[in-house]
Amino acid sequence: MEPPERPSRGTFAPWDEPAAQPLVLFDGVTKRFGAETAVSDLTLAVYEREFFALLGPSGCGKSTLMRMLAGFETPSAGRVLLAGQDLAGMPPHVRPVNMMFQSYALFPHMSVEKNIAFGLEMDGRPRDEVGARVAEALRMVKLEGLAGRRPHQLSGGQRQRVALARALVKRPKLLLLDEPLGALDRKLREETQFELMALQERLGLTFIIVTHDQDEAMTMATRIAVMDKGRIAQVGTPAVIYEAPATRHVAGFIGEINLVEGTVSGCDGRRVTVATAVGDLTVADAADSVAVGQAVAVAWRPEKTRIVRAGEAISNGRAVISGTVHDIGYLGGRTTYHVDVTGLRLKAAVANAARSVERPIGTGEAVKLAVAPDALLLLVR
């Protein structure tokens, strides 16, 4: 997985400012459905103008979190605050929050125009203002010519844009997007990701997006909350989530990773040596403090791994692991080597910078994997 590519947001980082007031605050929120706990004592702050992604596998509670914001579910315990105001007891139709549904939920008996106008009409806006704002919304999503169509006469991508226009036309403080691109094909999805980002930036709105697609979250979000079984495993910028995952779950969920279990054998400040099945690995900069004898894991990304033939030399200072190539995955832009090392299968991804390689490493060859100490991660949880 490549580092996220996104338009620069300068030094936008309200979450690092102690004085900043969050727009959305989940304060110790728990949601139970019968005996099942969907969200468990969760605290999370989202700031104005953020493009915040809730990422996790299905059933992790991310949709429940969003439905509590929209008002379709009430927390079993804890508070949900919007701009400092407790949302408890406020029905969905009075919340200054709009949602784009995964199924789009377009009204099949209304034209595109009527669908978009619906929210404004409910607010009792004058007719000419409704007309002007609907026209503007249609322009924004590039659907000017389709105002009179019914939803069933539109393609999937067009429906998605109508749903977006309908949710945006009321200029909500907060827009919730529930798997907004899930029904689109890959190419359209990538285009739409950038359109959504540009739109959010231009309108200066706050977006919270629910997704199970890590690429989508990495591409679009200012920050990502990785969820697992009703809890937040980690909140951070895409780069932090990718480069410094806090737990084994986060490390495994975002991108590909090599993960080796072991025991701490040496500790020198933040420099930690771990005895593993593939030999001693020294982590240069451990985030958590550990004690000798503690069970931990060492992880590193495949693209931060060098792979050479067994006989070739490797610069000093790197952890070196010897193994045999089991399988090679050629992906065009890069090649992934699956290497067997004492019962483990590790991955090394190499960017294919040159058009052809004289003598490529083949399956079954003995190789050495080399990882720089600062590329190694120490995972305690």
Partner: protein, 300 residues
């Protein structure tokens, strides 16, 4: 057999069925309606026989006339019976819609495991004969019946209500008998409706009661149309309910037809009434068919 031939055969079967069991009987009735009543077996003239030959048929065809239709159009009794049938059917259908819609709505919103049981409960009355169920209403509605006994017992009324043998009784009978025909099509459309549409409406600032009128009702229109026609059309021609519950004051065309046919043995006039009833109902049936066809085209 080629695919086309197979398809033709498949389409041919219902067409043959319709020609044999609808068009032919209708032609017989239509011919009868142009005949004159006579003391004979069958009780009308002319009757066409194979022995007559083409010349005989032509001569007999000249005897056919529109006299019966003129008689019906000129007699207030028949016109009133038609109008009162349509009125009772309209009122009955309106009441059915008002009662049936909330029922169907509640059924569609009930927990999923309850729904088959609720549908079963709606269908359950069909397990008893229609005639017996209408008879049972006589026992309930008559002056010394269950309803009056109950109301007198509680003390709500001082003298028995005169419901039996009135239009009210007919309406009660009609609403009772046709309720499943209203509830089931409504339930079918309401149950199919995507509930996130209501959430989307709420989310856009629409309170739930308004969402009912703006989203639920328009989307259940096919069910409303289907249920209404399934009730209105047979109620207009209803015989048993007005006969048992309506007494002599309630005029309905089905009863008039029955009387003409069995009491007066005036088959030609009875046939003319039947033909007219059919033409009156063809209008709404065609509206219904068009709606259904549009529904199919729109797809989902």
């Amino acid at each position: 057999m080629s695919e086309r031939a197979t398809r033709r055969t498949i389409i041919l079967v219902p067409y043959l069925w319709l020609v044999l069991f609808f068009l032919v009987p209708f032609a017989i009735v239509a011919k009868m309606s142009l005949s004159q009543v006579a003391t004979a077996i069958p009780p009308y003239v002319p009757t066409f026989g194979l022995a007559d030959g083409p010349a005989g048929w032509l001569a007999k065809a000249r005897e056919l006339s529109l006299d019966n239709y003129a008689l019906i159009a000129g007699d207030r009794l028949y016109v009133d019976a038609f109008l009162s049938s349509l009125r009772i059917a309209a009122i009955g259908t309106a009441i059915l819609l008002v009662i049936g819609y909330p029922m169907a709505h509640a059924m569609a919103r009930a927990p999923e495991r309850w729904r088959p049981i609720l549908v079963m409960a709606v269908i359950l009355p069909f397990w008893t004969s229609f005639l017996i169920r209408v008879y049972a209403w006589i026992g309930i509605l008559k002056p010394e019946g269950l309803l009056n006994e109950l109301l007198l017992g509680i003390g709500i009324i001082g003298t028995p209500l005169q419901i039996a043998n009135s239009e009210t009784a007919v309406l009660i009978g009609v609403v009772y008998s046709y309720l499943p025909f209203m509830v089931l099509p409504l339930y079918a459309t309401l149950e199919r409706m995507d509930r996130t549409l209501l959430e989307a409406a709420n989310d856009l600032g629409c309170p739930p009661w308004k969402a009912f009128w703006r989203i639920t009702v328009p989307l259940s229109l096919p069910g409303i149309v289907a249920g209404s026609f399934l009730c209105f059309i047979p109620i207009t021609g209803e015989v048993v309910i007005p006969d048992l519950l309506g007494g002599s004051d309630t005029l309905m065309i089905g009863k008039t037809l029955w009387t003409e046919f069995f009491s007066n043995r005036d088959w030609p006039v009875a046939s003319a009434v039947a033909v007219l009833l059919l033409f009156i109902l063809v209008g709404p049936i065609m509206v219904y068919q068009r709606q259904q066809a549009r529904q199919m085209e729109a797809g989902r």
